[in-house]
Symmetry: C2
Subunit: 136 residues, 2 copies
DNA sequence: GTAGCTGCAAACTCTTTGCAACTCT
DNA sequence: AGAGTTGCAAAGAGTTTGCAGCTAC
């Protein structure tokens, strides 16, 4: 049983065939798949899966904090399996998502919020750019 | 003629009654109104205005960089009349949007992108929090 | 057995758009 | 006059949901 499956079962979720497939897709994903992406990959393993189930499952996993939902400036959601805390740089030319971490930034965001009289609950930090040094 | 009106006319936009109303609403807004907000306020001055016109006008103004469109984690867009560069802290309890600036952050974001091999084109930095020191 | 899960299709929200009529310039 | 603009209603995209049947536990 995979780690994700175990954690779902522990949360009381029934391990249906569809869920196993979706969890497998997520476990194997090294990118930040959209709902459509997850759906397409899941269909390759079980063509009877419906996109409604994918939406519902991803929603549940997000609530359980097993995945994180992102809404970049694209008009739809992407998901990623939870790992260490990090931020994203989106390559505007390819759509590729690059992860990064930055301690200075972590400290700074908390300080900014506190200075404004707020306790930081959540945040969003995204960079959009294009690769340097490209020949035209 | 207001500053916004002048800049629109300069860009070749016809100054229709509806546009004047929408520009007036924007000129008077000290917050970050949603399309719905702008629509409601505009209707108070001219009840014949349609929301399609509001959408179209805000879209045009965004292209002209006279306003900026934000998509916070709310599922709809908010607009703000362009001013100095700044970021936003969204009060999760009231929906209030607080603006802030931070030079350190500005330098940091450029550095992070460059270190990853990217030229920074755009970015998003938003904080979500709740007011400190509130009595329960 | 039954609470929970699924597929399907319809519904929803926010936004965009085709069209015919209208209006600034 | 004529290009640009408008209101309306329909269409779009992404997402959610009601329902009847199915399934894991």
């Amino acid at each position: 049983m995979s780690d994700l499956e175990e954690r779902c079962a522990a949360a009381g979720l029934k391990m249906t065939g569809q869920r196993k497939v979706i969890l497998k897709v997520l476990g194997e994903a090294s990118d930040h798949p959209s709902v459509e992406d997850v759906y397409d990959r899941a269909k390759d393993m079980d063509s009877s899966i419906s996109i409604a189930t994918v939406y519902r499952t991803l929603g549940l996993l997000d609530e359980l904090d097993l995945v994180t939902r992102h809404e970049f400036q694209e008009g739809y959601s992407r998901y990623e399996v939870n790992a260490d805390h990090h931020h994203h740089l989106i390559d505007l030319e390819t759509g590729k998502v690059i992860e990064f971490q930055n301690d200075e930034l972590e400290k700074l965001k908390i300080k900014i919020a506190r200075d404004l009289g707020y306790e930081l609950v959540d945040h969003r930090f995204e960079l959009y750019g294009k690769k340097l040094g490209k020949k035209k």
